[in-house]
């Protein structure tokens, strides 16, 4: 028989022309839909904007992703390998005993001759607090904290000299370690005098303090201990703030007491969850209310137009084609209502953001939505409109055509 496509196109065209013909009533439906949708968009925009403003600093600051061991432990290579393999771990390096992890430091080329003591912080490529900076390498390249670099008067590329001292067999021994400042870390990375060093240098310092030999640097002493090496601590960063809680939980279960900023993160997340619940309750009430109002108006419309539908049937339109009539018109109402609500949303958004500009500052938006949110709103609106119209469609399908014609 004739292609279904052209028949469907005819139904679409008729539905559109009727929609335009009854433009006053259509406009009423469109406006009533946008009147429901607009407050929901603004409400969700506020929730998204406010939570975004609260969460953004937490996401950007690596300190919120750090998990610190509370005490001293003993962690072997197997443990580090297992931790590094976890998907929720972004960065982990072993940390030696705090007492061994210090070094005195002086600048080589400047006249000051000032010597400072720095804490050694184990680091490696991918260190979150040194992101975008040259990572420390082997025995020679290090990164200084901002405080330390300021005190020494050095910047990236300068040479510094480390001074290590030990007392071995009653005799004081000193070694000098020539170092290159590969980078100066930002202030937020470390608040005291500190030096980010590679694993090799950190172990060399610990070995030297313990009286052992360090062959690569030509330091003499007792032979190295055989077997796997154990470390007192670690520097650990979760992949994202969402992973901190689970990671922390996992470590606690292993009997490792840790400190994290999980409470700060949870606070914002709880706020987000609670606001979401409030939003969806309001959206649900609005959707049900609008769905009923829209559905009953479609139903009434089908009743009002039963003669027209009867004529279409009599002309030979199949029931399955005619049922598309109210559904197509409902979808069109939904799409236009969404469009109107979206346009007004931008006006309201501009007003709200101007109003709260002083409060948030930094050009941040108190009310904002992503393109994906608008698309989601459209999809949900179309789905709700179709469901509401389906009741009218079902009524239409059940309508005895001849009775409809008789009443005319």
């Amino acid at each position: 028989m004739r292609p279904d496509v052209s028949r469907l196109r005819l139904v679409v065209e008729l539905a559109l022309r009727e929609f335009v013909h009854e433009r006053v009533m259509s406009a009423c439906f469109v406006l009533s839909l946008s009147a429901v949708l607009l407050p929901l968009l603004v409400l969700f925009g506020l929730k998204f904007g406010i939570i975004g403003n609260l969460l953004e600093p937490l996401k950007e600051d690596p300190r919120y992703r750090q998990i610190l061991p509370a005490g001293s432990g003993s962690y072997g290579p197997d443990w580090f390998a297992a931790m590094a393999a976890r998907a929720d771990v972004a960065f982990i390096v072993p940390r030696t005993r705090a007492i061994a992890a210090t070094m005195r430091l002086r600048a080589v080329d400047t006249e000051t001759g000032r010597i400072i003591s720095v804490e050694l912080i184990p680091s490696a490529a991918g260190d979150p607090v040194l992101s975008g900076l040259e990572p420390p390498q082997a025995y020679a390249t290090v990164a200084l904290s901002l405080d330390a670099a300021d005190k020494l008067g050095v910047s990236a590329g300068d040479a510094v000299e480390g001074i290590l001292t030990r007392t071995l067999g009653g005799e004081q021994q000193t070694v000098l370690v020539p170092l290159i400042v590969g980078a100066v870390a930002p202030a937020a990375a470390f608040a005291r005098d500190g030096m980010f060093v590679a694993h090799e240098l950190l172990m060399a310092v610990e070995d030297f303090r313990d009286g052992r030999a360090v062959a690569p640097l030509g330091w003499s002493g007792a032979a190295a201990v055989d077997g796997p090496r154990y470390f007192a601590g670690f520097r650990l960063y979760a992949r994202s703030i969402d992973d901190v809680a689970a990671l922390r939980e996992g470590l606690m279960n292993q009997g490792i007491d840790v400190r994290s900023r999980v409470a700060d993160i949870e606070l914002v997340k709880t706020l987000d969850r609670n606001l979401s619940v409030v939003f969806w309750i309001i959206a649900g009430i609005a959707a049900v209310g609008y769905g009923l109002a829209f559905g009953s108006s479609v139903w009434a419309n089908v009743d009002r137009k039963r003669l027209e539908f009867g004529v279409l049937r009599l002309t030979g339109f199949r029931t399955s084609s005619i049922v598309w009539f109210p559904i197509l018109q409902a979808m069109l109402t939904g799409a236009l209502g969404w469009l109107v609500a979206t346009l007004f949303f931008f006006i309201v958004q501009a007003g709200l953001n101007a109003l709260f500009a002083d409060t948030v500052g930094g050009g941040e938006s108190v009310c904002m939505l992503l393109p994906a949110h608008f698309i989601l709103a459209l999809v949900l609106t179309l789905a709700a409109a179709s469901v509401a119209a389906a009741s009218g469609g079902r009524r239409l399908a059940k309508l005895e055509p001849s009775l409809a014609l008789r009443e005319a």
Binding site: L10, R17, E18, R313, L314, G316, F317, S402
Partner: protein
């Protein structure tokens, strides 16, 4: 057989035998409530009979007959819709034009449903029915007589084999009614289309050359009416 029951009133239409030959021109005369519309709707395959013996539809002598009773039984309403679309033109008492379409689009509707977007036959039919000046108006701008002419044009535009008209001239003044009937009969004669009209205007139908469908009405009590149609051509 079609039976209605509403508000305690019973109505039954029996059709023991009704054979309508291709090209026949028939009228079913009766007052309102005598089952006119019921008969036409059964013939237009839009009203489900409550029970039926044999009911076949053979559009042309060369076609295989379609078993309408079986289609209703099987619930194959799509087949019936397709048969209507292909073979039936229907004129309602008040035109039944779609208010949102122009006269041109109303006339082309049945043809577009059948053949898709294609040739515009509205000019031709509007000229034949003398409404060419109204082509781009909407039904609301037309007189009742003009609307009926548009309805007839639409009912014929897709080259149906049967034209069914339910009180096509009841709402029109007698002079106009006569003209429209003459026009309609002239067209169906020319096209070889079978014509079935329901009307209460006996004289008008006879004048237009239509044969009457015999029937008799039994009213056993106040609330029950039993119409029996019998006609063999």
């Amino acid at each position: 057989m079609k039976r209605y029951e509403a508000g305690g009133a019973r109505f039954r239409l029996d059709i023991p035998e009704l054979v309508i030959a291709p090209g026949a021109k028939l009228a079913f005369i009766g007052e309102s409530g005598s089952g006119k519309s019921t008969l036409l709707e059964l013939l237009a395959m839009i009203l489900r009979p409550d029970s039926s013996g044999q009911y076949t539809f053979q559009p042309r002598s060369t076609d295989e007959p379609h078993d309408i009773a079986a289609a209703w039984q099987a619930g194959d309403v799509d087949l019936l819709a397709d048969l209507r679309s292909r073979h039936i033109g229907y004129v309602l008492q008040y035109g039944g034009l779609l208010p949102y379409l122009t006269v041109r689009d109303n006339i082309n509707l049945s043809r577009r449903l059948l053949h898709g977007r294609g040739d515009d036959v509205a000019e031709h039919w509007a000229t034949r029915l003398r409404i060419a000046a109204q082509l781009d108006k909407r039904p609301a701008e037309l007189s009742i007589g003009q609307r009926q002419r548009v309805a007839i044009a639409r009912a014929l535009a897709h080259d149906p084999t049967v034209l069914i008209a339910d009180e096509p001239t009841a709402a029109i003044d007698p002079l106009n009614a006569e003209r429209i009937m003459e026009l309609m009969v002239g067209l169906v004669d020319e096209l070889g289309v079978t014509l079935i009209v329901a009307s209460h205007a006996h004289g008008l139908m006879r004048h237009a050359g239509l044969r009457m469908i015999d029937h008799h009405i039994e009213t056993s009590d106040h609330n029950s009416m039993h119409v029996t149609v019998s006609h063999a051509a």
